[in-house]
Amino acid sequence: MKVLVLTEQKLMEFLASARTAYDVRVPVSLHDGTRVIGRLGEGPLAIKGGAINQKITSIFFPHMETVLKCSNGGFESPEPAPKPMLVVGFTKQDADCLEFIDRFYNDKFRDDVYFNKRDNAVIVCVSGRCGANGKLLKVSGDNCDMELICDGQDYIVRAYTDVGKSLIEDIGSTEIVPEETLEQIEKESDQLCVEGLDLLNAASKLLLEDKVPDEFWQSISDRCIACTSCNLACPTCTCFDVFDRTNGCGIDRWRIWDSCQLDGFMREASGHNPMGQELIRTRRRIHHKLAADVTRWGHITCYQCGRCDNVCPTGIGIMSVCKEMVEKYG
């Protein structure tokens, strides 16, 4: 089979050349080895190693940003970026998350601040034999513009959208790759996340059927310190709070990531709080993604990206909680 294959060096050259048209973001390794999506040159390229710990959708929905500027009696929205972004480093699960929040931010009320960055951005997934500790990363299929499937060393490049295809054309050269390599990776990839999905579906069913008692949520919330990390790392968590800050000549309105694990998240001005109990907040974190969203969107909105389980300091990310729940009540 004739496909485009890039060595890491060639990939680097391609990304460097893409900078004329794009604001290129790639996984890099920072000062102490932490991998993040950064600019080329911010640190050594670090594509291999699996999902990036940071909330991947922070590229388009950052921790804190200005949403409005107010001066001389008028309002201004932030300007769109001069160049669209080309972002490398989404896993298949990350791309699923992105696809969902694209829909979310476009539903009824379109979030311009988000789409300023998101429109025309090119998403490049990474998959194959380059996960953490040599694990296989699920092959994306078609939920991105382009995909880099690692064979353990080099990257087989596949394009799914028109932009992706035209980018590939720019690179030109192609190589022969033994058909088995790709077939084998795809076959193995098909097996990934299946068990996880079964678990999430089973948990979702229990929640929809209201089979999980309060005492379960109490026992989980006893272990939650309200660090907010699960929300702040989750690519499908989209909540934010707003605040105003004066700058020399006017006022800027900012937004900052918020968390449903905080007591103040839903507290009313009266002091009444529909989510004023720890156990309710803990249930909400899981219930929202596995039950409420099923009712609203027709599907669960956790895509098994793994971040909340990695980042929760007490081991109660969504998968751990679902496991405990299904073991007890399933």
Binding site: T34, R35, I225, L262
Partner: protein
Amino acid sequence: MKRTLTTCPYCGTGCMFYLLVDDKDTLVGIEPSSEHVTAKGQLCVKGWNAHHFVNHPDRLTTPLIRKNGILEEVGWDEALDLVVSKLKQAQSAGGKDSAMFVSSAKTTNEENYLMMKLARAVFKTNNIDHCARLCHSSTVIGLMETLGSGAMTNSIDCMEKADCIFVTGPNTTEQHPLIGTRIIENVTKNGAKLIVADNRKIRLARLADIHVRWKNGTDVPFLNSIMNVIIAEGLEDNEFISKRTENYEELKIVVADYPPEKAAEICGITAQEIVDVARMFAAAKRAMIVYSMGITQHTHGVDNVKCCANLAMLTGNVGSPGTGVNPLRGQNNVQGACDMGALPNVFSGYQKVTDPDVRKKFEKAWRVRNLPGEIVHTVTTAINAAAEGSLKAMYIMGENPMMSDPDQNHVREALEKLDFLVVQDIFPTITSDYADVILPATTYAEKDGTFTSTERRVQRVSKAIEPINQSRPDWQILCDIAALAGYEGMKYDSVSDIMDEIASVTPIYGGISYERIDMIGLQWPCPDRNHPGTKILHVDKFSRGLGKFSPARYRPSVEMPDEEYPFVLSTGRSYFHFHSGTMTRRSQLLDREQRFPYVEISPQDAAEHAIAPGSWMYVATRRGEVKVKANVTDVAKKGVLFMPFHYKEGPANLLTINALDPVANIPEYKVCAAKIRKAQ
């Protein structure tokens, strides 16, 4: 977007993270470091919000001098000239010790070192102290006497290795969150035993095998009685005692007076609870004591600390993984500020000022003569002296005694009486309201340096943005003051040079350099450039040679509840705010979480006083009265109130008592008598 690796400015856990800076030099976010030994890609809510206050419009941005009662903006030269001339004036009128220098556990090691050098080498006084006086001075003294070092004996990762963890006095999941989570994980995943001895039903108490809610201030009889049971039942570690310790007979005599029945009565618990704790602790292969302010902030704080050390030695739980006596440091650099000698009795590295050889060594290194050998004031006695009129001038760097010292009216009186007060800070505070000069300093995000975490790990603080407006890093301000006062020995090209000087005069920091701690910090003692640092203290030998049992007898707290003031009031911190609130109350989410001053009160007490949850009420002591919201919760025990001290509009320290431990001078923040009433 630029990312800078630095250390969290909040608690002493010492997580490192990346600060995100946009193209306009504004901090716009935080990313955890997945590689950091403690953070491991995680943070608590304060860490996640640690960028927020830096660009707050309230920042002090230019030096201010009070002229005719009004603060006026001035240039740096004018402000610093005035500081130097006024400090000198006070000293020439009232003697060297009529000026007090207050350093800060928020600032870097380098800055603490320079503040102590300024006080001693330039202004020739040992009147240098900082807020460790208010939190762990009893630890430094109590553990020094028993073990030979005032620091946490073990490392944070030991929390995961213990078979039994005895938590008394810290609310770790709120005050050292990523240490608290290690305890939770060890308990829930490995089945480690957890004993919580705390009046409040803190989160860890919900997961504890035994939760003892004894009366505040009865730590000594409680701990003595545990030891009594251990000895009576032959559960002590005789080999450890005979090989590694001294003065055991003395301990036996004292604890013999605390049989469980007698102690139980003093402590307000059952004898069985004491026996259960003793057996569980003694049975564990690796048992660890974790303590904090609940132990230290008493007029018998030093005694409490000694009892903790006694218990660890009695059961052979010192010097190995998963054991030890572990006082958790509550501020980012309170460990470092002590290490740097921002204390009246020691130079950096706990080298005694009363030792003439030590003074000679520093005289040579600093190229000065006649370093003072007398110890006069601590932070707490300095306030008393100012109120009496014998202390004339104070230079406060990064502290807010009006909020953090006991008995606010007394502190106000003291500050008002001073001839000259200079406050160097990042935001205006109610302490700076009394200042004659205010010097704008930078936050942690605008400077380089190091903090030392609770596990003695010296870690880098790195500059992410330029100083805002005219603010300047504390170390540069201190160096300028030294130069203006005519001292040539405080000129440095960079903070790394300051660390090199610290290493050269401080044996425990001897091997620390910026090059070595570039990515991962080193744990002291680290005596030379090839030393890998020390994870666990007292491994084969105690720092003082043999561990010394130092028994203590029960002394009740100074102000006990009575008919008029029937409640016990205890104070401390909450999860979302930090100390006097200057930073967290200027951070959107943290402030939103807890916007009002509050008191924790038990459902029974609230019901008896017809106080509805969330309603306003008054708490009064013999010092004053404060209006707060009622946080009705079963965290509080009947008869006991708990108030955090973050709120200037509802200051807990207006109520606390200015009663001090006779040795450590630490105030009794944890016990005073109070009464309550409903607000109409």
